[in-house]
Subunit: 141 residues, 2 copies
């Protein structure tokens, strides 16, 4: 089965966040602005040293992933990436790298291999139907 290719993107979104950076971003999207101390709490599963997290945040600031605002002695961090956009970039990256540009292969793969539950399939069908209607609406103008 083949769904076809994704058109080559103009600007392939420079620099994906690293693994650890995703963890920080996920925490930040959940709660922000947040101090490093708060984030460390949200990321307690990682068992990072406080300074480890600080280093991450410093670097992410340089990369433009987050920004910090100093209030008194404490820096308050906010994400500069929109979650959806970052996710989209990550998905695109995966499709390019792993599925050689064939977005449909990823979909097929998900449906075939991820053992969706009946409920998930149902929802997915509904989503497709919704997209269908959306498209039709757009087409009518």
């Amino acid at each position: 089965m083949s769904f076809g290719q994704v058109p080559p993107s103009a600007n392939p979104d420079p620099a994906q966040p690293s693994d650890a950076e995703w963890k920080v971003l996920n925490a930040l999207w959940r709660r922000h602005p947040a101090s490093a101390r708060e984030l460390l709490g949200l990321l307690s599963a990682e068992r990072w040293a406080y300074t480890t997290l600080k280093t991450m945040l410093d670097r992410m600031q340089e990369k433009g992933f987050v920004r910090a605002e100093r209030r008194g002695n404490v820096s308050w961090y906010e994400p500069l990436l929109e979650r959806k956009r970052a996710q989209r970039a990550a998905v695109r990256d995966l499709i390019a790298r792993v599925f050689e540009g064939a977005a449909g292969s990823l979909l097929t793969h998900l449906v075939d291999d991820e053992r969706l539950s009946a409920a998930q399939r149902k929802r997915l069908s509904a989503e497709i139907a919704r997209a269908e209607r959306e498209e039709a609406r757009r087409a009518r103008g």
Copy 2:
């Protein structure tokens, strides 16, 4: 919209191939066994020095991603990963990292954001229906 969580995998498949390693693997799955020289041809878009590719291959061999068989002066490489499995691991990794374990979010994201063509939607629906039947068959035993 939410589809639910993926169960935490027992062994989270150690070490994903790196970006460059995926390129090599994709070439190898396309054609193997292949010599470094042949692979360099398949990967001409990368404009790698021959020795760069060789280094990649050496490392991938250490990691158990490929194996080499020496015939005469030349090493012939074969992938040791099965493509589907590697893809699955990569998708799982993405879901964990980017969608915090919610496989359904990825699906929703794809359907919503990737602007599937009508044809793609149709195929996907068919895939779902197929999975549906499959599931029913399994259920009947």
